[in-house]
């Protein structure tokens, strides 16, 4: 096919095609009924449709876990990797192809336990990607083991007498990492907020870390039950630089103005466990983005050969 033909075809492909949210669903999600992962998938589909993203220009990357099956259900390129290693794979992809949209889907075991080292470093690299931590406070796929985010005392197959340590809070940890640039929390059962958070994350030029509180009716049916039933236990962090989707005011009366630029306040809010707080805790669009600071000019093959031949001079006998 001549390159002219290709570019014509490209034009054709673009022209007039309008994607509906459902067009981004490649096949039905195979999670348990009532699983919060469905909510995340729906919100993502809405975002993709809103942004009219080309399926062929995005990559969804994940590790292993229930949540990590996500890429199989999205109409896009996908890399269902190995447990805990979604972020290095995603970083490689983004570094190679900054022009592609990269989304990472990970679980609390995948990201916060086995993947913790990569997580900390990916925050610092601050590459431009949207990272969704689907945090159900448990290992779902392997059937009910304690995760770092499992609440103290909550029992599982590996902690039959209850988790022995206070849960690790992904928000505070993320906020503790230098060069963190976008940290938000939302919940699968507040679709409007989830969607709005995704929108803000996508808009942010850098590593957008979203912790999504995710219900697992199979293994942690009771953990978020109260929060779902009683919206008074939830406080929305709102600000003109944050998210504040319309229509939630009635249900979620507890609202707090929080400027996402204020990192000290962000950390302090993340630390307090009197309420569940949803919103953008921190955002700074000015921090260095790794694939940008590492960008190097393109060099033609012939020019490379010339330069290498010149390089040889240094080693010439």
């Amino acid at each position: 096919m001549s390159s002219l033909a290709i570019s014509l075809l490209d034009l054709e492909a673009d022209a007039g095609v309008c994607f509906e949210a459902e067009d981004y669903q490649k096949r039905p999600g195979k999670w348990c009924a009532g699983c919060g992962d469905f909510g995340a998938l729906n919100a993502v589909k809405r975002l993709l449709a809103k942004e009219q993203l080309q399926p062929d220009r995005m990559v969804f990357v994940s590790g292993i876990g229930c949540s990590s099956r996500f890429p199989h259900y999205v109409n896009a390129y996908g890399f269902h990797g190995i447990h805990g290693r979604a972020l290095p794979l995603a970083s490689g992809i983004k570094l190679a192809r900054p022009e592609l949209d990269v989304f990472v889907v990970t679980g609390d075991g995948d990201c916060v336990s086995i993947g913790a080292g990569h997580w900390i470093h990916a925050i610092r690299y601050n590459m431009n990607m949207v990272v969704m931590l689907l945090d159900n406070n448990i290992y779902g796929l392997t059937k009910n083991q304690t995760s770092p985010t499992t609440p103290l005392g909550y029992s599982s197959m590996t902690s039959p007498h209850g988790a022995q340590l206070p849960a690790l809070d992904p928000l505070q940890a993320t906020l503790g990492v230098s060069n963190a640039s976008f940290v938000a929390q939302t919940a699968d059962w507040v679709p409007a907020h989830l969607y709005a958070t995704l929108e803000a994350a996508y808009d942010h030029p850098g590593f957008s870390f979203i912790r999504i509180l995710q219900r697992c009716p199979k293994f942690t049916p009771d953990i978020f039950e109260q929060a779902v039933k009683d919206p008074a236990r939830t406080e929305l962090l709102v600000h003109e630089d944050g998210v504040d989707p319309p229509g939630l005011e009635k249900l979620y009366e507890a609202r707090r103005e929080h400027d996402p630029k204020d990192i000290d306040e962000a950390r302090s809010l993340a630390r307090r466990d009197d309420m569940i707080r949803l919103g953008v805790f921190f955002r700074d669009d000015s921090l260095p983005v790794y694939e940008e600071v590492r960008a190097v000019p393109k060099v033609t093959p012939q020019e490379k050969i010339n330069r290498l031949n010149k390089e040889f001079e240094r080693y010439a006998v």
């Binding site: 492909a13 995603a90 490689g92 570094l95 040889f312 080693y315």
Partner: protein, 642 residues
């Protein structure tokens, strides 16, 4: 006047000029032994370069201390270089040094203890210590001399520091150049070449530095001229083709640029790191980058992600890093993302001997992954092949959508040798990113049922969106738990190795195609093995050798080649049990890694002689073991004879 007729195996023609006896020899090995931080590397680098430029074959090896900056004047502080150079091509570090420049008795002693110095070695040693004011130092000196008196060394006292201090105030920044001057005179090196080298090496420093270095060289030469009664002449044959000189890590670094690599993802580890140092300095000029990841796992992941997305990616490491990449390598094989992994082998197991050579990652490179994960493993045999192996590796990885592991080692990594300047090919630079639409109906793993090969679809290609997965999957890349689906994938991934093997030529035999003994090696031992074989052949022994480069899959025709020899024995730098040791029988013996592989492959009773001394094998030790294998009755003492 001494006659250096004790130097065996060399053409001697002593020509007396004034008082100086010039011995013509076909090669010589010199070592410069200093405290770490005293600049032995620079001295050796310039000397080696000069020899190369004058048309000699050269091989230099670094002597590296275990600490960053160990206390001076101790046996553990030894830093230095060995330079072997000769009339013909030099392919390995040789046996022992015939001349040494030593900055103190302790570092010299450490070399003596390592049996590194020839029985008749000439030693130019710093004269400062014998009568030093500090009694401790004098005592250490006496004890060292006492210990070394078991050998026939000829000591020449040289006031190195004293002379250097005439030119520079800090002798640590001058003794090395003075030593270079000594060597320049002894070996009649072209001083103008040396001057140019100095100017190049110190190009970022002031002219004053350059000048004083040159002055030091001249002082060294003058001292030698006045005080020494011997010189060596090593004839040289100027090369016909253009040549370059570098170490194996530099060759891998430049080779990967030649191969069009755009991303080197790594985590520092000795002795592999200098590949990335080399690359970090230059790769951005070629539109690529070196990414230092948080660990080796991430380094592999980033390389796989980048390759999946269409960049040509490489990850570089050594043993412990290979261990950490194990899981990711299997993923790359499973999803059929091309990946080149360079493992610069070091001494193991575990942290082992981090700076030293070993060839012990062969079996783990082939069999390291839980599950069946066929991949290609190749081992360059020389520094030149280090360069070209990167081009080959990329090509195999992309053609077969698989992982190619390139095994070099600390010997190649830090050894310096010259080789024919490579002819670069612009096609090597072509990136694999192809953004044309995916032909309608093309499946992500459209395995050719005969070859297992399939066309790669890269993100961004219109119409190609699909999800790859490390789970068992079918041609559509859909998760498949069905027995036949799983078995099809396994068959296809394995088949590719057989197809690749069909493109290979049988390995060449060095020497006759039949005989009493075939010595088989792999990778970096090439030069030493052939030299040992040649020595035995020169004595009329029916020995040949065969050096393998492709280890997985193995090159074709191996069994046929082996079957023409009475005995087959591998020579490797790794561990094997010795039959006859307590509890060690033919049955319980653990073999050298290649030997084991070839036994399974050929069912021939292949023996091995292996050694893991943390240094390259010496031709003479290999030679000894060839003789021992040929004449087992003689009961020769291995490694002891001179």
């Amino acid at each position: 006047m001494i006659r250096l007729c004790r130097l065996e195996n060399e053409t001697l023609s002593s020509v007396a000029t004034k008082d100086i006896n010039i011995s013509e020899v076909s090669e010589h090995t010199v070592e410069i032994i200093t405290n770490s931080g005293e600049g032995a590397q620079k001295c050796a680098q310039i000397f080696g370069q000069t020899c190369a430029k004058m048309g000699n074959g050269v091989w230099t090896v670094e002597i590296i201390p275990a600490e960053i900056e160990p206390p001076h004047h101790t046996v553990t502080s030894t830093s230095g270089n060995i330079i072997r150079f000769g009339t013909d091509k030099v392919t390995n570090w040789g046996d022992q040094s015939k001349l040494a420049v030593a900055f103190n008795d302790q570092v010299l002693l450490s070399r003596h203890r390592l049996d590194s110095l020839h029985d008749n070695c000439i030693i130019l040693q710093e004269s400062l210590w014998e009568n030093h004011e500090d009694e401790d130092i004098r005592r250490m000196y006496r004890e060292a001399m006492e210990e070394m008196s078991s050998k026939n060394y000829r000591f020449v006292n040289v006031p190195i520091e004293e002379e250097a201090l005439k030119i520079v105030s800090n002798p640590s920044h001058g003794k090395n150049m003075f030593a270079l001057g000594l060597l320049a005179e002894i070996y009649q090196r072209d001083v103008s070449i040396i001057e140019r080298q100095i100017a190049h090496i110190f190009r970022l420093k002031s002219q004053k530095v350059i000048d004083s270095n040159i002055e030091l060289v001249k002082a060294g030469a003058a001292w030698a001229r006045e005080n020494l009664d011997f010189q060596f002449h090593i004839p040289s044959v100027p090369a016909e083709e253009e040549r370059i000189v570098m170490n194996g890590n530099q060759a891998c670094g430049l080779g990967s640029i030649a191969a069009g690599m755009e991303l080197c993802s790594m985590y520092p580890i000795t002795p592999a790191t200098s590949v990335s140092h080399e690359l970090a300095e230059v790769i951005e000029n070629y539109g690529g980058i070196v990414h230092q990841a948080e660990d080796e796992i991430a380094a592999a992941g980033v390389a796989i992600g980048a390759s999946y997305a269409g960049k040509v990616a490489l990850t570089v490491t050594s043993g412990p890093g290979m261990a950490l990449k194990t899981e990711f390598i299997a993923l790359a094989i499973m999803v059929e993302v091309p990946l080149v992994v360079l493992d610069v082998q070091r001494g193991g197991p575990s942290t082992g001997l981090p700076t030293k050579v070993e060839q012990s990652d062969l079996l783990s490179s082939i069999y390291g992954q839980p599950g069946d994960a066929p991949r290609v493993v190749i081992a360059p045999r020389s520094i030149e092949e280090c360069f070209h192996s990167m081009v080959t590796a990329r090509r195999i990885a992309e053609t077969f959508r698989t992982v190619v592991i390139v095994l070099t080692d600390a010997n190649l990594a830090t050894g310096v040798q010259q080789f024919t300047r490579p002819e670069l090919d612009v096609r090597w630079q072509q990136g694999p990113i192809d953004q044309s639409p995916v032909p309608e109906g093309l499946r992500p793993y459209e395995w050719d049922p005969k070859t297992g090969m399939s066309r790669r679809i890269i993100p961004g290609m219109p119409g190609g969106a699909h999800t790859v997965t490390g789970l068992a999957h079918d041609e559509l890349s859909l998760v498949s738990y069905h027995p036949s689906g799983n078995e099809l994938g396994m068959r296809m991934r394995s088949r590719k190795l057989a197809v690749f093997q069909s493109t290979l030529m049988p390995p060449e035999v060095h020497g006759d195609e039949e005989g009493d003994l075939l010595v088989v090696g792999w990778g970096s031992t090439h030069g030493a093995i052939e030299e040992a074989v040649d020595r035995a052949r020169a004595e009329g022994r029916k020995v040949s050798s065969c050096q393998l480069t492709f280890l997985s899959p193995l090159e074709p025709g191996i069994k046929d080649i082996f079957s023409k020899f009475d005995k087959v024995m591998t020579v490797e730098i790794n561990y094997s049990d010795t039959v006859g040791d307590p509890y060690i029988t033919e049955e319980t013996r653990r073999y050298g890694q290649l030997a084991w592989l070839l036994r399974a492959h050929t069912l021939i009773d292949i023996d091995c002689w292996t050694s893991c001394p943390g240094q390259p094998l010496r031709p003479k030790d290999i030679y000894q073991n060839i003789i021992a294998k040929l004449e087992p009755s003689q009961d020769i003492e291995i490694g002891e004879a001179s």
